[in-house]
Amino acid sequence: MDRKIKVVMAKLGLDIHWRGVYLVSQFMKEAGMDVVYLGNKFPTEIVEAAIEEDADVVGLSSLSGNHLALGPIVVDMLREKGLDRVKVFMGGVMPPDHAKRLEKEYGVQKVFLPDTPMQEIIDGINAAVGNTH
């Protein structure tokens, strides 16, 4: 049985910043994960993709200030669909206290802010997913 971690990565909403999400996706690939890259997508489409791809992880990139508006919707919609086991990670630019709120109040597993070492992201995902499968 071979089991690779499957990640669905998206730029949240109408965010056009691509470098961060590309970079993280590439590192995930090199860490042996299957990364399904969606490009720009809204919560409904992201959750639909997570269902069809049987994702372990959803990664959302947000640098346009929509993190509090759209991030929690993705988490809620996943729960509604019964996908509690799917871990949601976010990355991008946002005030640190927003990042804390997303983690504490809105059920985001972890928010990676700028300058996070790549290995920390990989380790974070491995640790979070490791105990669910």
Binding site: D34, V36, Y37, G39, E45, E48, A49, I51, E52, D54
Partner: protein, 329 residues
């Protein structure tokens, strides 16, 4: 414990056959990662599969395969057909990981559209690609999808195998796909039922379709179908109506004179052949006493021996030592 899991799998199968997305998705995962229940799942699924129309889409990277598939999904749905898509991208030969980007171009816009898209990495195992993507396609078929589209990058032999495991093969090229010699090369160009020259708004589209036409004209191969050539610009939906009609005309052709049945039987024969070989290899591996392959590698290296002969001797001596080969008198 075991029994519990079997019940779980049974429930997944039952729900999947009713078309429940979440269950279908889990089922594909179990088969994809070769769960111990994978053969059981395929056994239960098999009687329900075989009703869909399978379309293979292949071609070089960046030709517009995903964009074309996206447009086709829309057209099939508009005609009240449900669509299942298996989109295969390569995996890293080093980490085994992958970046699957086909969904970027695929946008299901309405909830009314009955579509299931699944991305898959080709995997590092030889023949693994063909196995899992065919099985995933069969699951989607059994779960009620009427059109199955398998999209692969047409670069290697195993991708060709997949394309050939479908009822209609679309080979998508661009005006930049090369000169007449490239068109005449073996492989990809020979498996097409339908050629699509995408990005036809760019210069050179006519040239390449002339090259294709010439190649087909000169070909001595007996065909009961003349491959059609369509010029499209998928991103702006140009030429798509003709392509859509072209696909159906190939389907009509297949349904005449039991051609579809014959094509599928031929494919089944091929698939069984490969699988039987694999099973033989697996069983024999288990029967012979395990040898240290590293030692064989080192030995071959040091002696500068030829791998072909070394492999042959390795198999023979393994069989002899395990008493599976008649000893010399």
């Amino acid at each position: 414990m075991k029994i519990e899991k079997k019940e779980l799998v049974d429930e997944l199968i039952e729900r999947s056959l009713k078309g429940e997305k979440l269950s279908i998705s889990r089922l594909i995962s179990l088969v994809e990662r070769r769960d111990e229940y994978a053969p059981y799942i395929m056994e239960k699924i098999a009687p329900h599969a075989g009703r869909a129309y399978y379309i293979g889409v292949t071609g070089p990277p960046g030709a517009g395969k995903s964009t074309t598939v996206d447009r086709l999904i829309g057209m099939f749905c508009k005609n009240n057909l449900s669509v299942g898509v298996i989109a295969v991208d390569p995996s890293s030969p080093f980490s085994g990981g992958s970046l699957l980007g086909d969904r970027v171009r695929m946008n299901v816009k309405s909830e009314k559209m009955d579509v299931f898209i699944r991305s898959m990495s080709s995997g590092r195992v030889m023949g693994g690609l063909a196995r899992t993507s065919k099985e995933a396609a069969r699951i989607l078929d059994a779960c009620g999808k009427q059109i199955i589209i398998i999209e692969t990058v047409g670069v290697g032999q195993s991708e060709l195998d997949i394309a050939e495991a479908t009822d209609t093969v679309l080979v998508i090229l661009t005006p930049e796909s090369g000169d007449s010699i490239q068109i005449m090369k073996a492989g990809l160009m020979e498996i097409a039922d339908i050629f699509v020259v995408n990005k036809a708004d760019r210069p050179g589209a006519e040239d390449i379709s002339t090259s294709i036409r010439g190649m087909l004209k000169r070909s001595l191969r007996k065909r009961d179908w003349d491959p059609q050539i369509f010029l499209t610009s998928a991103s702006v939906s140009k030429g798509m109506d003709d392509l859509y009609a072209g696909i159906w005309s190939h389907y009509d052709h297949l349904t005449e004179n039991l051609r579809l049945e014959e094509r599928r039987k031929r494919q089944l024969r091929q698939e069984l052949h490969t699988r039987i070989e694999n099973e033989f290899a697996k069983i024999l591996w288990d029967m012979v006493q395990k040898k240290d392959i590293d030692q064989v590698v080192l030995d071959t290296w040091l002696r500068r021996a030829d791998p072909q002969n070394t492999a042959q001797q390795f198999v023979l001596s393994s069989l002899k030592e395990s008493g599976l080969w008649p000893q010399k008198q």
